[in-house]
């Protein structure tokens, strides 16, 4: 999401000044009641900046401005603070940040989590926050002891005086430290001195995620709360023509049935009464133009478009001429479907709306946009809206909706009922609710000279723009999110051409873990494998020769190949495939070992993954995210597909939108490259290479090239 950088320069600058100029003491924060955070009987806390609060009980609360959706930010970001603050890890508590410009993303100008940016975008700010606090605590102790601060050092939540060995805990310094001047330009540690960064620190949120105490959006309760379900149009863009609520209202527990912008809301005492009420509701819809759409029709249209010139995303050399003159040409078409995020926690949002304020509890990835949308719907000022970010039961991009769909809708329900109300999406609502990973169609060609060298590459992409029409719209012909991973291929090819068609077809689309890379890596790395095989060269060797100018790509490729034992004999019927891809500032290569049984069922036995994400913060989190990305990607390779028939989404729940299960889990082995480069992301980069690695392995195992996902068993049945 690097294209978002320029969008809100004003708030970015504002934020920059806040940090650069130092935050004043007593800086106002609309903090919510902390569950387990720092507390002080006297009410005095030391809060040197927006991210740290130390209580007289020695507890250190770190206020995290990123949403915890599994990727580990409630651990990795506190690690950045803790490194400089010199604090006892067991005394750290985490609290979700409220919505405030102080918590804006350092690059986006709004508060949000995504694009695998959390660690690198907070790398400087959070370390500075920790260092500033430490210096103030040292200065406070020095003043009490009447010694030079240079004679004091901080360690595990204590300030220790050199020589005398006298010590005082942070909690006892709270009052004094609060009177210290906020220092400017505090020096930060050199990496060789790191004690926390680079270590596999235990996740701070694990205990509460094993005993039922972790609170997700769906778990929040407020007194007098009602539950609502919304019946949304069966076709995207449809509207309510009329409805009859008589039978629904007759269901015990149903309180109200009301029309809102997005459909008809059934408001009831709880989930079951709302769901019974909804079953009894009769609605006549005005379905609109999307009712004419079907997946098959879209495929035909995309195919037609792919044969016409699109908006140019990349042109190097003269690819058309080079291909036409090539000694050998290869042509292929690749296709991937719409995909649902299918977070385990279906969407939900609790709203408590009053005349002068609005409280919202939800798991969101885009707090500022949601707050502003809520304010618009409620007729309030943004500062009168408070968002309490809960744990997210998965996000994968879906909970960062640029239209704030699930938040704005819940506020509109609250506006009618005038009581606290939680809108719950059923699994079916969530699955059919749109904002999918776009369906893509790719036409791709390569030219080889008479030496077998790759001299031309031509790639046409067809699919809906994700950013178009959102506040992040780049307002250009080429949406960078559509061509990322395709217009910037690392391979040394003299002639390259990439163009793009972005048809507007009315199906809501959105970023889905790894965004454009989720499809471009599959196409590029599969087709490159086709080219390699056509020359008779080993796919690893073929890539190596083309990556001479990209050492980090080659580094992970080599590491994965070595760790797997590339070239060593495999069991009969097994095949291995390799793929490498850069995304979100990180480089990932994967080798998959696969077999296909006679009935066409694919078995992924093993995946070796190598990642270079620059500077390592929490190695175990990096491993977990690679495992996670591989599973997420495998579900898409093997099963994931949202289709439409007469504008209606055909899938509804996990029986027709299956996810990978435990019995299908390959052994995953992750290797991390040690690096001093700037940190890259880890939440998404594990996803892109798995589809091509698996499909390349299938080709190696049985000579069948997969060019359309998900894999269709019928294509693999052995004759």
């Amino acid at each position: 999401m690097k294209e978002i950088v320029h969008l809100s320069r004003r708030s970015f600058l504002k934020n920059g000044i806040l940090v650069g100029g130092g935050l004043t003491l007593g800086f106002y924060l609309p903090l919510r009641g902390s569950l387990s955070g720092a507390s002080s009987p006297s009410g005095v806390t030391f809060m040197p900046n927006a991210f740290i609060r130390i209580g007289t009980d020695d507890k250190v609360t770190i206020i995290v401005n990123k949403s915890e959706m599994g990727q580990g930010v409630y651990t990795s970001l506190p690690m950045l603070v803790a490194e400089e603050l010199e604090v006892d890890w067991t005394k750290i508590r985490v609290e979700a940040a409220p919505v405030d410009p102080a918590y804006n993303h350092t690059q986006w100008g709004v508060q949000g989590t995504g694009g695998s940016t959390s660690v690198w975008s907070e790398w400087d700010r959070l370390r500075k926050a920790g260092a500033t606090a430490r210096v103030m605590l040292i200065n406070a102790a020095a003043e009490i002891w009447k010694v030079d601060p240079a004679n004091c050092r901080a360690e595990k939540g204590l300030i220790i005086q050199r020589g005398t060995g006298q010590r005082i805990s942070y909690g006892k310094l709270v009052e004094k430290a609060s009177q210290m001047k906020v220092p400017k330009d505090v020096p930060l540690k050199e990496p060789k001195g790191f004690k926390v960064i680079g270590k596999s620190m235990k996740r701070l949120d694990t205990p509460e995620k094993t005993n039922g105490k972790a609170i997700f959006g769906l778990d929040v309760k407020v007194p007098g709360m009602l539950t609502a379900m919304v019946v949304r149009p069966p076709v995207f863009g449809g509207n309510v023509k009329s409805f009859d609520a008589k039978k629904a209202k007759a269901i015990p527990g149903v309180k109200e049935v009301v029309q809102i912008d997005s459909g008809v809301a059934v408001i009831a005492e709880g989930f079951w009464s709302a769901s019974k009420g909804r079953e009894a509701l009769e609605i006549i819809w005005d379905e609109g133009t999307v009712a004419k759409l079907s997946t098959e029709g879209m495929r035909e249209e995309f195919t037609r478009l792919s044969k016409t010139p699109g908006a140019v995303a990349k042109k190097k050399g003269d690819p058309q001429q080079a291909i036409s003159k090539a000694a050998k040409q290869l042509h292929a078409e690749y296709e991937v479907p719409f995909l649902a995020h299918a977070c385990m926690e279906p969407l939900n949002c609790l709203v408590d709306l009053h005349d002068d304020r609005c409280e919202i509890w939800t798991g969101t990835q885009l707090q500022t946009l949601d707050r502003d949308a809520a304010a618009r719907v409620a007729g309030l000022k943004p500062e009168e809206v408070r968002i309490h970010t809960t744990f997210l039961g998965g996000g994968f991009g879906r909970r960062g909706n640029p239209q704030s769909d699930f938040v704005a809708e819940a506020v509109s329900v609250a506006k009618v009922i005038k009581k606290p109300v939680k809108v719950i999406w059923t699994r079916e609502d969530d699955m059919k609710g749109g904002y999918y990973r776009p369906m893509w169609y790719d036409r791709i060609a390569a030219g080889l000279d008479d030496q077998g060298d790759l001299i031309a590459w031509q790639h046409t992409i067809v699919g809906q723009s994700i950013l178009s029409g959102t506040p992040f719209d780049p307002k250009k012909d080429v949406d960078p999110a559509s061509v990322e991973g395709a217009e910037d291929i690392p391979y040394e090819i003299p002639n390259i051409f990439v163009d793009l068609h972005s048809p507007k077809i009315g199906i809501p689309v959105q970023w889905w873990r790894s965004v454009g890379h989720s499809h471009t890596a599959f196409v590029v790395e599969s087709f490159l494998d086709e080219v390699a095989h056509s020359t008779g060269k080993d796919p690893y060797e073929f890539r190596r020769q083309l990556l001479s100018k990209h050492p980090r790509h080659f580094g992970v490729l080599k590491l994965a190949a070595e760790k797997f034992g590339w070239g060593k004999p495999l069991p009969k019927g097994h095949g291995r495939g390799i793929a490498v891809h850069e995304s979100f500032g990180s480089f990932v290569a994967q080798v998959a070992e696969v077999s296909v049984n006679p009935s066409g069922k694919v078995h992924v036995h093993k995946v070796v993954c190598a990642i270079d994400c620059g500077r390592i913060v929490n190695p175990d989190t990096i491993k977990a995210q690679m495992e996670s990305g591989i599973v997420f990607g495998l579900s898409a390779v093997l099963y994931g597909e949202i289709t439409l028939e007469s504008g209606r989404v055909s899938q509804s729940n996990f029986h027709d939108y299956p996810l990978l299960r435990m019995n299908e889990m390959p052994v995953v082995d992750v290797a991390i490259v040690s690096s001093e480069e700037k940190s890259g992301g880890v939440g998404e980069p594990g996803v892109p290479p798995i589809a091509p690695a698996v499909c390349n392995a299938i080709f190696a195992a049985m000579g069948k090239r997969i060019r359309r996902l998900p894999i269709r068993i019928e294509e693999l049945i052995k004759s």
């Binding site: 039922g212 599973v631 019995n663």
Partner: protein, 157 residues
């Protein structure tokens, strides 16, 4: 009125008899550790124990468990297997988003009660009923083995 014993406490609930046990646990009794994921017994996020057996509470009408003993994630830590599993989950840092983990843990505990030393194939068979979108499967497998080992050592002492 339906009588239940939940996590050792006896209670009576006055709800529609067809209400799924899940929503009685979550809304009537306020125990939100048990999760809603699919409503069709497809994902296992709602797994609880009824008289010691793992069941899917999202499709279990509360009337069908009248008078029975129910254990949820909030109460399972008191058992030997529960404690071992929770500790192993922490050791291996299993959860990511955490939403499915109550179901995973309840299923894993039922497995260990049945078979204190399960092989990979048995783990896969039992645990394949519980979906995890974050992909924590490898660590779940590892943590079940860890808990089994710990319990075996505990037994020897």
């Amino acid at each position: 009125m339906i009588s239940l014993e939940v996590n050792g406490k006896k209670c009576k609930v006055d709800v529609r008899p067809d209400t799924p046990l899940l929503w009685v646990i979550r809304e009537t009794l306020g125990l939100t550790g048990t999760k809603y994921g699919c409503g069709m017994a497809l994902c296992g996020a709602c797994t609880v124990h009824v008289n010691g057996e793992a069941i899917r509470s999202c499709v279990t009408p509360v009337s069908s468990v009248d008078g029975k003993r129910i254990t949820t994630i909030e109460g399972i830590g008191k058992t030997k297997e529960g404690k071992a599993i929770q500790e192993a989950w922490i050791s291996d840092d299993v959860p990511q988003c955490g939403y499915c983990q109550s179901g995973q843990i309840m299923a894993a505990i039922a497995l260990l009660k049945r078979n204190p030393k399960p092989a990979d194939t048995e783990i896969d068979e039992t645990m394949s009923g519980i979906l995890c979108r974050c992909g924590t499967y490898q660590r779940i497998r590892q943590a079940i083995h860890r808990a089994a080992k710990k319990m075996a050592q505990g037994g020897k002492r």
